[in-house]
């Protein structure tokens, strides 16, 4: 029934309609707007990542890809006790997250519900330090905490109290992490708390719930998306932190980011550094994916 000419024509129509479909898709405002950032991510994020993955499979202390892939680096991570720096990083990140949640929840609650326009001032005070380099702020802490520094020097000369400096210890690292990452916990938690409608908590109270019950049954679960995001952000950032353990911790403990840096610089062992990075990325990535699967970002950003 269909002549060859008609068939050809219908194919041409089909391909032109596919082309039209593609054009319609590519010229959507959303696609067009995201093109620059997609290109940037491709070149600036995905490509380096692939290079790192490639290096992690090369034999130790090599500097090109011309070798047979091997898992040697990953084996040496386990054998040469690099897992310790992983554990330190995870442990300190966990402590930081817990401390920050305890500090930030009441503060965020106040800023979201109670302080009124004072909350703007507080936000400003918390944001302005972010314009100063993290290292400079941490050196500020060194001056504050060091023997004969601002704190101990003042205690000694005014009150005659002599005390050992907490500098170059694990608590000093935790202090630095808590200080630096406070805004990263605070603001998401604040967003989470402000998403809890006032009349919903009032209704719970009206239905006979005590303050504690309102917190446990209503506020906490409804603010959970913000809390999870804040905790995740802080955890990931603390895990990859370098400056706190170096500047405030001295050589008290070595965190994973420190090991990675050493492998790439002094160690001149790019494959080992890459393997450590890949492992860190896998651990963090699976954690983030797990948390994000439980969250509805659309809801948090108020699109629903």
């Amino acid at each position: 029934m269909a002549s060859p000419a008609a068939e050809l024509e219908s194919r041409a129509v089909e391909s032109s309609s596919r082309w039209a479909e593609f054009r319609a898709w590519i010229t959507q405002p959303g696609v067009l707007c995201s093109t620059p950032v997609l290109l940037l991510l491709l070149i600036g994020f995905l490509a380096p990542l692939l290079v790192v993955v490639g290096y992690s499979l090369m034999p130790p202390r090599t500097f090109d890809f011309g070798h047979v892939p091997t898992l040697e680096n990953f084996i040496s991570i386990v054998n040469e006790s690099y897992y310790r720096s992983f554990l330190w990083a995870f442990g300190l990140a966990c402590i930081t997250v817990v401390l920050l949640l305890i500090i930030c929840y009441p503060l965020a609650y106040g800023m979201a519900k109670l302080f009124g326009h004072w909350a703007h001032l507080l936000t400003l005070l918390l944001v302005i330090p972010l314009f100063v380099s993290e290292n400079i702020r941490l050196f500020g802490w060194v001056l504050f905490l060091i023997k004969r520094g601002v704190l101990l020097g003042a205690l000694e000369s005014w009150f005659g109290i002599g005390a050992d400096s907490m500098l170059y210890s694990v608590p000093a690292i935790v202090l630095g992490l808590v200080y630096v990452y406070l805004p990263f916990t605070l603001f998401p938690v604040m967003l989470g708390i402000s998403m809890v409608p006032r009349d919903v908590t009032e209704a719970a109270r009206d239905l006979g719930a005590s303050r504690w019950q309102v917190f446990r049954e209503i506020e906490l679960p409804l603010a959970m998306p913000g809390i999870l995001i804040g905790a995740m952000l802080t955890f990931v950032l603390s895990l990859g932190s370098l400056a706190e353990s170096k500047i405030l911790g001295g050589q008290a403990v070595i965190m994973i980011a420190d090991d990675i840096e050493t492998a790439f610089t002094f160690g001149q062992n790019w494959p080992l550094g890459s393997a450590l990075s890949v492992l860190l990325i896998l651990l963090v990535g699976s954690l983030v994916l797990y948390v994000l699967r439980r969250l509805d970002l659309d809801e948090i950003l108020g699109r629903r």
Binding site: P197, D199, V200, E202, A203, A204, R205, D206, L207, G208, A209, S210, Q213, E217, I218, P221, L222
Partner: protein, 354 residues
Amino acid sequence: MTGTPILRLVDLSKKFDDLRAVDGIDLEIYDGEFFTVVGPSGSGKTTLLRMLGGMDQPSQGDILLRGERINDIPANRRPTCMVFQSLALFPHRSVGQNIEFSMKMKGIPTADRRARAEQLMAQLHLPLDYYDKNVAQCSGGERQRIALARALAFDPEILFFDEPLSAIDYRLRKTLEKELKDIHRETAKTFVYITHSLEEAMVMSDRIGIMREGKLVQVGTPDEIYNKPRNKFVSEFMGEVNIIEVQKATEDKLECPSLQTQVVGPSQPTGFNSGHLVIRPESVRFLNNSGSAENSVEGTLYNIYSLGSRMQYQVRVGTHVFLVEKLREQGYEGELDDVVKIGWDARDSILVSD
């Protein structure tokens, strides 16, 4: 309706900075009655209700529940429960968990909670398989019923309603109004309801309080409010009525500047000087062919609306536009711009102050 007062408000006031949102309210609400506070937005009715529920603190005055001052008792320890305008359902809980919330807080065993929740769901025409449904997936009317079931599960002595039906479409609202009245009769609890719609209040209430700028303007049964509005504000609230500015002419005659004529009105109170005459659209008659009335005026017919079972006519007389309503089968047969004669009797008009 009389009875024992369950709630007594004495000089109850709430100030926000310089604004007196609620200004010296004295009121008794009787045990088991359906009391409705009607007022425009900003009249302070929500603030009043929030004070009764314990969400806001009065700046002045007392709230007495069965004679005991409850000003300082927090919301969770008052035997009252509010149905919020937003309904304030717990979005992260199922229908059943919402209804059972107050019982869970009291520590009632799971099986008892469930039995009571299912009983309430049946009473409020909620399908039992909604028990595990997410409240976000329920329709507007269902959400109303869940909110009411949740409040009833608390077993309060008084239920407060903060305009819960305002966001519901007309037909469903009419159904829910009647259901609410049935629930009131079945539970025999005291209901305090607030709304901006006098029509809604008329359907459900035993008594109505009209609120304006933080004060109660008039309190009475729906009949009293309808037949004896105290002033122009209350009459305007009743919807479409003719309100004509009048001044005293003689002992039984009133001067109407907008109609440029004098009319016979109801008996004037002593010392009456000027006020407003309220005439219902259905009390005005067309007098062209036959019939007579104590008062009559001539004007031009300038709009005809169909209201379904009734017809509404606008007749321009002087600078005033009269509203006339007739049953459809008794409607006026005429054309726009016809010169028509309309009239009403003195006993169908109400004289109110400003």
